[in-house]
Symmetry: C2
Subunit: 217 residues, 2 copies
DNA sequence: TATGATTCGGAGGGTCATCTCCGAATCACC
DNA sequence: GGTGATTCGGAGATGACCCTCCGAATCATA
């Protein structure tokens, strides 16, 4: 899966520098940003960029894989929380914080969908999230009509606040708190509209490119 | 402000067709999509594109202005609701629905920020939204610690669900319902963290490009 | 330090998008 | 229908970007 790491120090340093600058560049200008610009920012020649990443997609793929790795590192703490509700809190907080601090991710994800139509963003996380939701609902703290997909979508929503730039970061916790209050189980709640989705149908749905249904349906 | 509308029918028809196709094209491929492709999709020659829009930015600007106009048309119904709470509901629902159905908007907004650093997205709407929040809080239905900016940010979050494509649209009402439940005033709520912002400081904040503060602060 | 292997830098060919230009076509008006 | 003004279409000049290539520089190893 991973290309071998070079034994030369300059090669390792350049590879790392290119990844760092690519994240910044893709965040600012999208994944279509000129790679010549990447070379300039990283302080290397254009040829060096293409030695490390044969083409743009290879670079995107590596950023994606590294991101999935970072997420995997977040999982243990979230799943080991004392209560199910605390797990839900941590899930939303940690994931959204990670997303908001990694503004290159949406661009990379979009491109990944074009490169490889049947990649599954974070497929390995579907099962633990399902478990987390069941646990919190079993203890009666999480409203019973939400699904794991609903939570994942909420994470995306919160993460989209990264678009405002780093200065807003301390404030998105307000939106997080509002969402969490909306997720608590309460006796007088009216149930959520529509049917809950599972990850499979959600994936099919969000990758279909067909015409949108009539508005107001 | 607006360029004069041509008196020739073919010119008006082409102008309209170009706007329609530009919205689709920008939604699919971003504002950097080739304008030659726009010409093909609209069934006109490349020269015609540049007759109507001297450059890409002129096209972006017109799409932005038209969007603001559509929002203005939404305002009366939202503000005329019977109760303050219903006004809040309509505000979130109508705006987020509009955003989710207009997937070209985020791309256009981002580009607008680059073209014209001190444009104010929807500045004219700040005052009515403030009024709407005060009304709902006065009647005791909206939690007292949210601000108009919080609501506007929530709209952006909900609108970002347009990224999943039209097929998901019937389902974002679930996230809307969760957010609304989190916004209701309740006796036992813990107050939102951090300070509420007004539109002016929020605008400064979200357009500053400086380095992000240390995470975890 | 010497040596061979690996990596670097950046000039340049090929490709694609932008935008101009002007003869041909279309339109509004009479 | 005739007429002048406006708009259309698409070929082509200009410029940007992608990616390759190879002599020069750097590195690991002994």
């Amino acid at each position: 899966m991973n290309a071998a790491v070079s034994s030369r120090r300059d090669a390792r340093r350049n590879h790392e520098k290119l990844l760092v600058e690519a994240r910044k560049l893709f965040a600012e200008r999208g994944v279509e940003a000129p790679l010549d610009e990447l070379a300039v920012r990283a302080g290397v020649g254009a040829g060096t960029v293409y030695r490390h990443f044969p083409n743009r997609d290879a670079l995107v793929r590596e950023l994606y894989d590294l991101g999935v790795g970072e997420l995997r590192d977040l999982a243990p703490e979230i799943l080991a929380a004392e209560t199910g509700w605390r797990s839900v809190e941590l899930y939303l907080e940690r994931l959204a914080e990670w997303l908001a601090n990694a503004p290159y991710v949406p661009a990379v994800m979009r491109r990944m969908g074009e490169i490889d139509p049947d990649y599954r963003p974070g497929a390995e996380f579907a099962e633990p999230i399902d478990g987390l939701v069941e646990r919190a609902q079993a203890e009666g703290s999480l409203r019973p009509d939400v699904t794991a997909v609903d939570l994942a979508v909420l994470v995306d929503m919160l993460g989209s606040l990264g678009q405002y730039g780093g200065t807003y970061l301390p404030y998105w916790r307000r939106q997080l708190a509002i969402v969490l209050d909306g997720l608590r189980a309460r006796p007088d709640l009216t149930p959520l509209p529509g049917a809950g989705l599972d990850f499979d149908t959600f994936h099919d749905m969000s990758h279909r490119k067909g015409p949108r249904p009539a508005p107001g349906a």
